[in-house]
């Protein structure tokens, strides 16, 4: 069977994009094949030394089951409070670009029970709130389940300072076969940002007034975005209505399809660029351990897919319109 490429450049581009989109999930699998297996020439092996005490107390497995669950949950809640993930103030959030939030500040000596009591009796909550700009497009290299990767890090707060616990090489030995053995140990590195482990997004601490200004800007952006989405929806509904009336190949329909296709294809690009812009704006809060959220890329696939479908529809309807015009002007 011979496979022939279509001469139409748009069709080729669509085929190319679809193939690339299907290949993306397999790339990490292919990359994982490197440096695995029996150490040999050019291989790297890592060993870990547990040189630091655990971030949170370890629950004894000798406890009765219900006691174990209770202690484990209270440690988890306390960590949640300490990491300033207990949301106090909610704000607007513009997709993966930015949002605003605020959380209670917990003193390190407080217990969760004591804090919950205090929280219920706080008269002026503003005084006990830290405001943040949250950047969902950026996350730390680690997730809770990903801590066992050599590259991953863990965020925590102690003594009103944010840290990340990461593994670094402190001893590296090379044997005769050119294979390298790295001895890793943990270090706690102070960082300027906050982090929400559950939402996996970076938190930039800001003052209340900054948060309010950003919130207004985000509110306006969201309003414009929603308005534009409604406009696109209206264009699509008008297109459907015209089809039902038998007015298929008209200038208006072709323009509507082009607008929807271009908007859907540009949307992920703008989202990506704005996410990068956030890094430029808040560059002093970023460290090499902060990476772009891969969920952003996954989220972008849908609009690209729909955009390609609308692009093909636009091409088809444009062709149909040309034929119709020709037909109409044939006497």
């Amino acid at each position: 069977m011979k496979i022939k490429f279509n001469t139409n450049i748009v069709v080729n581009v669509v085929i190319g994009v679809v193939v690339v989109l299907y290949m993306i999930p397999f790339v990490p699998l292919m990359m994982r094949g490197v440096n695995r297996g029996i150490p040999g020439k050019g291989d790297i092996t890592n060993g870990i030394t547990y040189n630091l005490k655990p971030i949170d107390p370890v629950v004894s497995i000798d406890l009765p089951y219900y006691k174990y669950i209770s202690v484990r949950d209270s440690i988890k809640n306390l960590r949640n409070f300490k990491n300033q993930n207990e949301t106090n103030v909610s704000g607007f959030e513009l997709g993966y670009v930015a949002g605003t939030t605020g959380s209670y500040i917990l003193c390190d000596t407080c217990t969760v029970n004591g804090y919950m009591f205090a929280k219920a009796h706080i008269d002026d909550r503003k005084e006990h709130t830290q405001y943040f700009i949250q950047l969902p497009g950026w996350k730390l290299k680690a997730t809770a389940n990903d801590f066992y990767n050599d590259d991953s890090v863990k965020f925590f707060r102690e003594n009103n300072q944010s840290y990340i616990r990461k593994k670094v090489i402190y001893k590296s030995t090379k044997n005769k076969k050119d294979s390298v053995y790295n001895q890793l140990h943990y270090v706690d590195v102070p960082v300027p940002f906050g982090y929400n482990q559950r939402l996996q997004c970076l938190l930039v601490p800001v003052s209340e007034s900054t948060r309010n200004v950003i919130n207004i800007i985000l509110g306006v952006c969201i309003f414009m975005f929603v308005f534009y989405m409604l406009y696109l929806l209206a264009a699509f509904l008008k297109f459907i209505a015209d089809l039902s009336k038998g007015l298929s190949f008209t200038d208006k329909n072709v323009n509507r399809l082009r607008l929807i296709a271009v908007s859907l294809l540009i949307y992920p690009c703008i989202l990506f660029l704005l996410t990068l812009l956030m890094r430029l704006i808040f560059h002093r809060y970023f460290t090499p351990d902060v990476i772009i959220n891969d969920a952003l890329l996954k989220y972008s696939l849908k609009p690209i897919g729909f955009g390609l479908v609308f692009l093909l529809l636009y091409r088809a309807f444009n062709q149909g319109k040309l034929l119709k015009d020709e037909q109409d002007l044939t006497v």
Binding site: D325, E326, L329, T330, V331
Partner: protein
């Protein structure tokens, strides 16, 4: 040719059997194509050759 034959647009459209709108498109040069049967009918009514009513103009 129509002037020579002293024929109006309305009369021609009635005799050829095409609408006034289409005849207008044909006369103003907006038409993208002409059916052979239309050309034949027009030539028959005006008693002329296709070359008498078609002219090539370079853009």
């Amino acid at each position: 040719m129509m002037a020579k034959r002293k024929m109006s647009l309305t009369e021609l459209s009635e005799k050829v059997g095409i609408t006034m709108a289409n005849l207008s498109i044909l006369k103003t040069g907006k038409a993208k194509a002409v059916r052979l049967e239309t050309l034949e009918a027009v030539c028959k009514i005006l008693n002329c050759q296709p070359g008498d009513i078609l002219e090539f103009v370079e853009d």
